[in-house]
Structure formats: C-alpha cells, structure tokens
C-alpha cells in the first residue's frame, strides 16, 4: 500500500499531540507501519503547530511537505488555510470552525481572513467543517475539541469503532475518559 499522509494542524495548546497519538495508535493496531512527528518547545506557546501522521507498508521520512498530504485535520480555520497547500490533488480537510486571532490580528496589523471554507472549496478541496468547540462544550469541556474532531475523522476512515475506543483508552488519562468518550461520540455523529 502506498504511504498515506495526514496532518494535524492548529494552535499550540489545542491538543494536537493527543489527537496524533490516538490516530497513531489506531493505525498501529491496524497493522500499518506508522510514523508520527511532533514539535515540542517554543512553537507550542500559542503558535501555529503541525503534527504529521504517516502510515503504510513502510514509512521512511516522518515529515510531510507541500503537495504530499492526503488529509488535513485542522483545529482552527486560519490554520486550515495556512496548511492547505500541503494537500495533494484530491485531498481532504476536516476542520473545526473555531477561530483564534493570531497576534498580528490582535494588534491590528492584519485582519482575520474571511470565507476560508469557501476559498478552500474553490481550491477543489473536499472540506468538512464542524463546530467542534460547541460539541466539546456539550460533552463537558472546551478542551475536548481535539477528540470531537477525531470522532469526525473516524467516520471517514474504514476502521472498526472499537479500535478507536481502545486507542482512546490508551491515550487519555482514566479520570477524563468519560468526557472524552462523549466528545468522540458527538464528533462521530456530527456531519
């Protein structure tokens, strides 16, 4: 099987590491070779962050470059736009509709772009936009938007739901498991 490339993008602090670990575990349990590349440190502090997940028969490079990604999972709209050029032709974006103003917008030197979803569609991208923040708050905490999005993604991948549940169990601390299960279910039944 040809190597598949998934990017998880968002703003530092939104929980992309947990999402990538859940996805990585699901793929490993499916018997794929998997590489997940994270960035820690300075850029985690509210900056634009990206995690790469690649799987297939053999994965060499852990990173994904422009024109190589099959799917982008985005926790924030502007970040979906920022990384869109990394998709290959026919690629998909699953994005939260949440917006977070970056510092140039806060200080007034730039404006937050309008109609991002429309522009992405004009680029021939298959876009799924979900209000993950509201669904996460419905599950009990805004912090679970990442797991809501994994729920959305799980519907688009052909893996048994029990494998996702098992990965959730492995990656989420036990005391938060109920809230995250609820968030996952809300994401799975969205769209």
């Amino acid at each position: 099987m040809e190597t598949k490339s998934i990017m998880i993008v968002g703003v530092g602090g939104q929980g992309s590491l947990l999402a990538s670990r859940i996805l990585g575990n699901v793929l490993l349990q499916q018997g794929f070779a998997v590489k997940v590349s994270e960035v820690h440190g300075m850029s985690q502090r509210g900056g634009s962050v990206v995690t790469y997940v690649k799987y297939g028969d053999e994965v060499c490079s852990p990173v994904i470059e422009k024109g190589e990604a099959d799917v982008i999972i985005s926790f924030e709209l502007l970040e979906a736009a920022r990384w869109a050029s990394y998709l290959k032709k026919g690629g998909k974006i699953v994005t939260s509709t949440q917006t977070l103003d970056p510092m140039p917008v806060i200080t007034g030197t730039a404006t937050y772009p309008e109609d991002i979803v429309g522009n992405l569609m004009k680029m021939d991208i298959d876009v799924t936009a979900v209000d993950a923040l509201s669904l996460a708050e419905k599950a009990g905490t805004a912090k679970a938007s990442n797991v809501v999005l994994m729920g959305v993604v799980s519907k688009k991948m052909d893996f048994d739901e029990s494998i996702w549940q098992e990965a959730l169990n492995q990656c989420v601390p036990q005391k938060f498991i109920e809230i995250n299960r609820a968030a996952f279910e809300l994401g799975r039944s969205a769209d």
Binding site: G13, V34, C60, S85, T109, M123
Partner: protein, 574 residues
C-alpha cells in the same frame, strides 16, 4: 508486541533494558523526554541537575562507581558540558557512560543550529546516530557495549525529527548489570599533567581501534540496489533520502559518525559512478570522503542551513517537482506568544512602558521580544542576561544603569545565572536583575528545578531560597513583587533602577499552565463601558481581541489574571 514510541521514549527504553542505573540531565528541547521517560522505571535513579555540566559530572561519578550511567542534553547544553566531556575522554569509564545530545536543525526551539558532531571529533569520543525510534533504543544499548569495550564515554546524537517522531519499537526485558568494582587508579582517573600525558596516548590508540571497529560495525551498513549512484548518509537524512530515492540508488548509512571508517568508504565508492553525501547541517561526512580522495557532491547541492526533507532531495537529485496549489490570499502569521495569564506579561508590559533596555535569557520569557511588547534587546544563551548586563553597564556607567535590567527565569538562574550574579555583586555594577520565578522550568514542558521543592520523580526536595541566595551572593537590595499587580511591579522596577547599588527583583507567580494553579473566572468586557481605546490590546494577550469595534475576551483562553482590568481606564473589564 511493538509499541509506538517517541525517539526519546525509545532511547529511555534502551537505557532501561541495558541495565542503566543512573541518569542525570538538564531539560532542553528536543532531548527532555528521554530523562522524563527513564525516570518512570523504578530500577533507574534519575534526576534533573541544575545544568548540563553538573549532569555529565554526576553521570561520570556514577560510572566510576561501576554503574551504567547516562546524561542527556540539547546541542547547546553540550557546550556547557564540554569541559567534563573532553577530559572524561581521557579518563575513560568504569561502568559504561552514554551521553545523549539532541541537535535541532531548523531551530524549532533553539538559539543556534550547531552540529554536535564537531564536539565528538574534537573530544575524540565515539558518536552514534540513530535514524528512528527502534534505532534510538538499539543504539543506546550498543552505546554501553562500545563504552565498556573501548573504555570511553559514548555520545549518541539525535535530532528533532528523530527525538520527536514516534515509530514502532520492540520491547525486551531489562538485563541487570552488576556494578563494576571501583579500584583506585590515579594514573587513569587523576588528570594532572603527568597522568594526562599518558592518557592522551591511550586516547589516540583508542581512536585507531574505533576506526577499525567502524570498518566492520553492523550499524555502518551498505544497501546495494545495483545502482551506479551511491548515497552516503546518516540520521534523519537517511530516512529522507530513502523516501525520495527508494531503490534507485545504493546507500551507505553511517550509524556511527565518529570516528569514520576509511576502507568502507573506498569500497562503497568503487561500486558507484556518482556519489552523493546527504547529511543535515555541516558537511562532516563529505569532508572525510573528500579527504580520502573520493569525488562526491554534498553541500554544494544541499547547503548547510535548516532541515532536509524528501522533497528537497527528490528535486535536487531527480528533478521532480510536486504540484502545489497555494491558498488564494496572503494569510496573517501566527508566531508563538506568551500564554493567556502568563505571569511574565506584567513584567514585560512594565518594562516596555518605561522603554527599558532588557538583557534577555533563554526560556518562555524570550517571547517578551515578540510584538506587541518587543521588550527585549538581546538574548544569547543560558545565564547570559545577567553577565551581559554587567558588562554593558560597566561600559556605559550611570546613564545605562538606571534604565537597563536583566530578566532570567528561576531554572535558568539556577543553571548559570547565579555565577553571573556573583560577578555583578563582586565587581559592583549597579545592575538590576529580575528573576522571573514562575516555580517551574516552563519552555521545555514543566520540569522541576532546585527552586521548586520537588525532584524529577515529584517527591519533596530541598528548595533553594532565592532571596537568601541573592543576599548571600552579596546583593543587599532583594525584593519580591507580584507580576499580576501592575502597580506593585512598576514601583519595584522604578525604585530598584534608581538605587545606586546592585539589586534583584523576584517576580513571583507560578506558570498559569501548572495543573495545581487555580484559575479565576474568565474576565468579561462590558461593551457599554468599552470606549475602544485598545489599551488592553497593548498587553499582547492572545485571549483579547477586537470584535465589532469593542474589546472581547475569549473565555476558552482567559484564566482571569485580571491585568487587563487593571489597565482599563473605564472599568470596562469585569
């Protein structure tokens, strides 16, 4: 069953399986998680040392005592630890000693892009370079074999994409290693000139033996795909090359990058018509190949700046170009910022307001240099804020002393700021030093340090009393201020700047991201009272923005620190 592991976690697993008993490190991206992960194994004693020099010396002592010992650091940390490393190369070891050093090509979280292989060459210590998580585990274990066989410390170099990538790792049980009895041997361990002269001869002979080992070592492997093109590579670059070039070329992958073999290169080159060297950062393999009289291409194609990847390699060697569709409009950048509720914000707001020259240091607070506060004038390395300020003030005298400060975090102060403060007191510059005490090592992801009262395992530990320490150093004016109280912070800064003697302000407030820190309810803007003056935006808080002409606070980010409310002249923030 195989488990997905970060390179760093796999490294820790290798230490565990190899029977390592002792680990001492200072946190530094991208090396930190090795020591955090190894601390989870009860069989391994693990600690955070105040700095990398202390860590390597502690690990060296542990190996003298007969244990397999370990220290980890980032690339710039090895500069700090270079002093013990270069002489540990002479003493050699008793139990095995492995030192991990993590480079950061692309500078994801670093102040420079140095190539640690230079340290291995200069210190005459063997260096191994894994290229994925399984190799991180295997090479950590092999490191101990080489260390004990050749009587040498062993460096294992990773890089961001190896340290922070997860791939599958096979786990095995731990093999306990008996302590090697310590036997007094001054000729080997007391490095005074008469003994060191003899040990230098030993070091040179050891290097020759290691070259012979490198010629046939299994980790220096040839993959012959029957091509006329050869690629010599190591570390992460091997993975990029494999992805870009697949079986179109032959590979010589170096798992050991110091010392390098000779005959292996000559034999590999003899099978190829064209030879490329693909390595990140400096052209160290390439220089060696060229010194052997072998023609090859490397840095002239790839340069020595930033990371490589499969697309760059495919473009340069195969001429392939991927189809890319750009987003139709310019997008605002999103640089990292101080978090909502960050206690450093109140300090930098105060310093920016009074146009104070700020000597900066290494930590989250380096973000004080970013817009809109832009309240930092220089940042070099750990601990340098205090010593640089001293020199700056000595030259410019009074005109400078009343409008300059140094800012340094609690952990960075313990690392190497203390000795700089001794210089301020001893050689008397009227410098003002602000210790940003947020009760944790922040940037690397919340590690304990000697001021926090807890050790690496989270158990209670002796806590350095910063006020008493600064006084003992000879600073008479030491005061504490709360950065959430802007008026208090401003008064402290202005009074200490005006003082005609050295002073220390301890800005004390725990990191807002710490789990035990209780947050207040999010602040709200009363839009009837908001006059849209944008005063609150001057704080550069990511939770505050303008929505429909009025200030608006994002409740998902705000932790209720309240400094925006202190700033609002119209009491519009509640």
């Amino acid at each position: 069953m195989k488990k997905l592991m970060l390179g760093n976690e796999a490294f820790a697993r290798g230490l565990y399986e190899a029977g390592c008993r002792f680990a001492s490190s200072y946190p530094g991206t991208p090396s930190t998680e090795i020591t955090e992960a190894v601390a989870k194994y009860d069989e391994v004693y693990a600690e955070w040392a105040p700095n990398e020099k202390v860590a390597v010396e502690a690990a060296l002592g542990a190996c003298f005592a007969g244990a397999r010992a370990f220290a980890a650091m980032k690339h710039v940390g090895l500069n700090v630890a270079a002093d013990p490393l270069y002489t540990a190369a002479y003493t050699g070891v008793n139990g095995g000693l492995v030192i991990a050093v993590a480079d950061d090509p692309g500078m994801h979280s670093s102040q420079n892009e140095q190539d640690s292989r230079h340290h291995a060459i200069a210190s005459k210590v063997p260096m191994l370079e894994p290229s994925d998580s399984q190799e991180c585990k295997d090479f950590a274990m092999l490191g101990y074999e080489i260390s004990e066989t050749f009587d040498t410390p062993v460096l294992v170099r990773t890089a961001t994409r190896v340290a922070h990538s997860q791939s599958a790792v096979e786990q095995m049980p731990r093999t306990e290693k008996e302590l090697v009895p310590y036997v007094k041997n001054p000729g080997k361990y007391v490095m005074m000139p008469s003994n060191a002269k003899g040990r230098h001869v030993f070091v040179e002979e050891r290097m020759q033996k290691l070259v012979a080992y490198a010629e046939t070592a299994a980790i220096n492997k040839v993959e012959n795909n029957g091509s006329e093109i050869g690629v010599i590579t190591c570390g992460a670059a091997y993975q990029y090359a494999k992805e870009a070039l697949g079986s179109k070329v032959n590979y010589l992958k170096l798992g050991m990058t110091n010392p390098l073999p000779n005959q292996l290169f000559l034999d590999f080159a003899a099978q190829c018509k064209t030879l490329y060297v693909i390595e990140e950062l400096d052209g160290i393999l390439e220089q060696h190949v060229k010194a052997l009289g072998i023609a090859c291409k490397g840095k002239e194609i790839f340069g020595c700046i930033g990371e490589l990847n499969q697309v760059i390699i495919a473009e340069k060697l195969l001429g392939t170009k991927l189809e890319v569709t750009e987003y139709p409009s310019q997008l605002p950048v999103r640089p990292p910022v101080m978090c909502a509720g960050c206690p450093h914000r109140g300090v930098f707001y105060t310093l920016a307001k009074h146009h104070i020259t700020v000597s900066g240091d290494i930590g989250c607070y380096t973000l004080g240099a970013a817009k809109p506060l832009e309240s930092m004038d220089w940042t070099i390395c750990m601990g340098s804020s205090v010593s640089c300020l001293h020199g700056f003030n000595k030259v410019l005298g009074k005109q400078s002393q009343n409008k300059t400060v140094a800012v340094i975090g609690d952990s960075t102060f313990m690392h190497s700021g203390m000795t700089s403060l001794v210089n301020v007191a001893y050689n008397a510059s009227d410098s003002t030093v602000i210790i940003l005490d947020n009760s944790i090592t922040g940037m690397t992801g919340h590690q304990q340090n000697p001021t926090t009262g807890k050790n690496l395992k989270g158990d209670p530990a002796a806590a350095v009393d910063l006020e008493a320490l600064c006084k003992a150093i000879g600073i008479k004016r030491v005061r504490v201020a709360d950065p959430y109280k802007l008026a208090e912070m401003e008064q402290a800064v202005l009074e200490e700047l005006a003082a005609d003697e050295p002073s220390v302000i301890i800005s004390r407030r725990p990191c807002a991201l710490l789990k035990h820190v209780k947050h207040n309810a999010p602040m709200k803007v009363n839009s009837d009272k908001c006059k849209s003056c944008k005063m609150c935006l001057k704080l550069g808080c990511p939770a505050i923005s303008m929505k429909n002409g009025k200030a608006c606070i994002d409740h998902t980010q705000c932790v209720g620190c309240g400094i925006c409310a202190e700033l609002c002249k119209f009491q519009a923030i509640e």
